[in-house]
Symmetry: C2
Subunit: 117 residues, 2 copies
Amino acid sequence: MERVEHYRKCICKLLTEECEKGAENTDIESQLIFDRERDRYLLLDIGWQDHERIYACFIHLDIKESKIWIQRNMTEVDIAEELVNMGIPKEDIIIGLLPPYQRPYTGYGTTGLATSA
Amino acid sequence: MERVEHYRKCICKLLTEECEKGAENTDIESQLIFDRERDRYLLLDIGWQDHERIYACFIHLDIKESKIWIQRNMTEVDIAEELVNMGIPKEDIIIGLLPPYQRPYTGYGTTGLATSA
C-alpha cells in the first residue's frame, strides 16, 4: 500500500499546483477537494462573473483498486503524462473520461483482466 | 464547535440519503465526496449513457465560518428547508447559488455584518 500512498501524494501535489495557477478573479474561488477516505480528489472553481454563476469542475481523479482514474480534465495539462513524469506506471493510470472500448488504444491502463497484473 | 459538528452530521446524512435515491443505471456511479478537512461535501454522478460521458455535480455544500453554504443544488429537493427541518437556524444557511444581492430577500443567512450574530 506504500505505492498507493505515493499515488495519493502525487495527486495532491498535482492538484495543489494546478489550484495555485488558478483564477485571478477574486469573485471566483478555486477549491481543492480531497476526500482521503474514499480516495477522490477534485479541483473546481466556484463564484460569480458579474451576475453569472460559475461552477466548474476542472480536474477529478480517483484511486480505485490501486489505479488512478482520470475522471475529468478540463485543463490544457496532460494529466496522464504528468503522472507518468512523477514515476507512475502507465498501466496504473486509467483514462476514465474515455469510453472503456477506447482505453486499450491509449497506451494507458485498462480494467480488463489481461492488464490486472 | 459542537454546533458545527452537528451541521457536519446533518450534511452527511442528507447527502447519503440523496445518494441512495440515485441512479439505477449501473454504468453511472453516484459518488459521495466528503472533504472533512476543508468542510466540503458533494454528491455527483459519473459514468456513461451509451457512449456519452455523464459527469454532473448535483449537490455541493460547504461549511465556512460556522455557516452552511449551498453552493449547488440540481435536485428537486429544497435542501435549505431540509436543513431547517433538521434544526439548523435559517441564519446559518447561506444560499450561495444565488447572487449576494439576492440573499437578504431569501429569509436565509447573509454574509453581511448585520447578521453575523
